[in-house]
């Protein structure tokens, strides 16, 4: 079940949590729920969460504060806001300031939520993959530099290897990764 990602749902209304859980049922996600921000943070400390879908107006804590603390605890977890307000100004600002990846409004459409979460997780996977690859490239470059220092006569061979790799990255298979 968890192979598609772990999602943490946060809302002070249990019925909303139940409905969202139903909505995501069958999408192969691991679903965690929290009714309060502090409860959510406890979960985030021990669980590897890929995405947090959180209500914006919870008692006791400002929505922006909560989003910020999620970012500090799990910098790689995507944050999606769920707002029931008539005025969406704060939601726009949260997205523009990078505090949230996207926002959804209440009432929500099932399809919209499912699609957004799927896309968000894909986006996150891509992002992580890009990071992995660039780390790999950096490591390889370091190794190449070492080899070159020791065997300057290998330069030609190494350059041909790099060229073939670049050609591979430019191919459609490689493009889907970037």
């Amino acid at each position: 079940m968890s192979q598609h990602g772990t999602v943490l749902l946060v809302d002070d209304e249990p019925h909303v949590l139940a409905a969202l859980r139903r909505c995501l049922l069958g999408d192969g996600l691991r679903i965690l729920v929290a009714e309060r921000p502090d409860q959510a943070r406890e979960i985030l400390e021990r669980e590897d969460v890929d995405l947090v879908l959180s209500d914006f107006d919870m008692p006791g804590e400002d929505g922006l504060t909560f989003l910020r603390s999620v970012g500090e605890l799990r910098p790689d977890a995507l944050r999606v806001m769920l707002s029931g307000r008539a005025d969406l100004q704060v939601a726009f600002e949260a997205v523009n300031d990078g505090l949230a990846y996207r926002f959804l409004t209440k009432p929500w459409e099932e399809v919209e939520v499912r699609l957004l979460i799927r896309r968000a997780l894909e986006h996150r996977t891509d992002r992580l993959r890009v990071r992995e690859l660039s780390l790999l490239v950096e490591r390889q470059a370091a190794v190449f530099a070492q080899i070159l220092a020791r065997h300057p006569d290998c330069r030609e061979l190494l350059e041909s290897v790099l060229e073939s790799q670049e050609a591979e990255l430019a191919s459609p298979v490689g493009a889907s990764v970037g």
Partner: protein, 468 residues
């Protein structure tokens, strides 16, 4: 005004004319003496005014003199007229014609005997002008003539002066009247302009009150949207899930028909998560029902809140309106702090509940605004009680509070402590007007940093009945 000193002397006897001239010019005349008219009189000399003396030997000559004087823009003050002038116009006719040309000429007739001519003269002058003629009995003395002449000339000049004065006065009165009516017109104009302005102000005020009402409704709508979006959100989402559950169950039933039982059916059941669905269905339904129930209540509360009731007052339980308003805003309020509600038993108050709902709404929204940006955990207390005489409702917050100066102005129209654009500044003045209209009062007790308490005091319906 120049004094007129012209005197007309009319007699067909030259001797008489000479006598007049002698008396009135102060020079002795031989003719006069021969006529034995004033022989014994002492000489008055320079004491006499310098009259301008015109003589006429006949009536016709007299009339001509009057005409030529008038032509030269000169006036004749008075005349001495002989009554009997054989061979021409008699005195009466001469006087008539002279007065026809200049009706101001004063007349003294000289007559030998108390004859009919006096009656005729009296008739000629008519009832209104009896003071414009006099007579001199022949033979006359010098002093009689001088006195008559003085009296007539003075009288004529006095009359002219009075006329001028009277004309001036009339003109002045007219001018004043005109000025007054002008001033009056100006005042009326100003008054009507003021009335126009007042009317405009009234319309503006009515509009502002209306816009304040709309602002309250706007705040309400924002709160309500939030309250309603949660249940609508999960009910709507649940229906989508239910749709998928139904599809899965139908698929499973088809499986039952085709496979009957066995491993394949077991596999399908697991794949479609039928056990989870069957387990979750009652929860889905009851939660959704709970959601629609909540939406229904919000709509009912909204109806009660905004029902106009056409301004009619009835004895009502204030707690009813307080509960309605609190239910609409309680959830929103709890996001900002703690809400304590303590509603005591109250006698009915004659009011319009929806009008009062606006009052509670305003006080509650203000209390929440006061909590914003304060350090301590926010708390709003709503209380109602009956102290045996009055019904009291108080809304108290532990927010930012106000100093005495602000608190004193809080019910004034347009006074606001909120940022520009956040409040119309009319909320509490409208609240004040509503409470005042119900014969109640509203008081504020506030301290900076400690919070504010607004207390609405209203008379119970039974006390109003005994009063009036």
């Amino acid at each position: 005004m120049e004094t007129c000193k012209t005197v007309l002397l009319v007699d067909d006897e030259q001797g008489i004319l000479d006598a007049y001239l002698g008396f009135l010019s102060g020079r002795a005349s031989p003719v006069v003496r021969s006529a034995r008219l004033a022989a014994t009189e002492e000489e008055p000399g320079s004491a006499l005014p310098d009259w301008r003396l015109l003589t006429a030997g006949s009536g016709e000559e007299a009339v001509n003199l009057v005409e030529s004087e008038l032509e030269q823009d000169r006036r004749i003050a008075c005349g001495f007229f002989d009554m009997k002038m054989p061979g021409g116009m008699d005195g009466l006719e001469t006087i008539r014609q002279v007065r026809e040309r200049d009706p101001n000429v004063l007349v003294t007739i000289a007559t030998a005997h108390q004859d009919r001519s006096i009656d005729e003269l009296s008739r000629l002058f008519g009832a209104d002008q009896q003071d414009e003629w006099d007579y001199l009995a022949k033979p006359f003395t010098k002093w009689e003539v001088i006195q008559k002449c003085r009296q007539m000339v003075d009288s004529w000049n006095r009359r002219r002066r009075e006329e001028v004065l009277s004309r001036t006065l009339e003109a002045r009165v007219e001018e004043r009247t005109h000025q007054l009516s002008e001033a009056n017109r100006c005042l009326e104009e100003r008054n009507s302009r003021l009335e126009e302005v007042l009317e405009k102000l009234r319309t503006t005020q009515a509009r502002l009150v209306q816009s304040e009402k709309m602002a309250t409704i706007g705040q309400l709508a924002a709160g309500v949207a939030h309250e309603i979006n949660n249940p609508v959100g999960f009910v709507h989402s649940n229906l989508g899930s239910l749709d998928r559950y139904v599809t899965a169950i139908r698929e499973y039933l088809e499986g039952v028909e085709s496979y009957g039982s066995g491993r394949q059916l077991e596999e399908l059941r697991r794949q479609l998560e039928i056990d989870f669905i069957l387990d979750d269905l009652p929860a889905l339904v009851s939660q959704s029902r709970d959601g629609t129930e909540r939406i229904k209540n919000i709509v009912l509360n909204l109806k009660t809140f905004s029902h106009p009731g056409h301004g009619t007052k009835r004895p009502e339980d204030l707690n009813k309106g307080l509960r309605t308003t609190l239910e609409l805003v309680a959830a929103e309020m709890r996001r900002h702090g703690e809400l304590e509600v303590d509603l005591g038993e109250l006698p009915p108050v004659s009011c319009n509940l929806s009008e009062l709902n606006q009052v509670w709404m305003n006080l509650l929204v203000n209390a929440v605004h006061a909590l914003e940006g304060t350090e301590a955990p926010g708390r709003v207390q709503v209380r109602s009680l009956y102290d045996g005489e009055q019904v009291k409702v108080s809304v108290e917050d532990n927010g930012c509070g106000m100093d005495a100066e602000e608190a004193a102005q809080v019910f004034h129209p347009f006074f606001t402590t909120k940022e520009v654009g956040e409040g119309t500044g009319l909320g509490l003045s409208v609240v004040f007007a509503i409470v005042d209209g119900l014969g109640g009062r509203i008081e504020v007790d506030s301290e900076p940093g400690r919070g504010s308490r607004f207390t609405v005091t209203l008379p119970p319906a039974h006390s109003m009945a005994t009063v009036g």
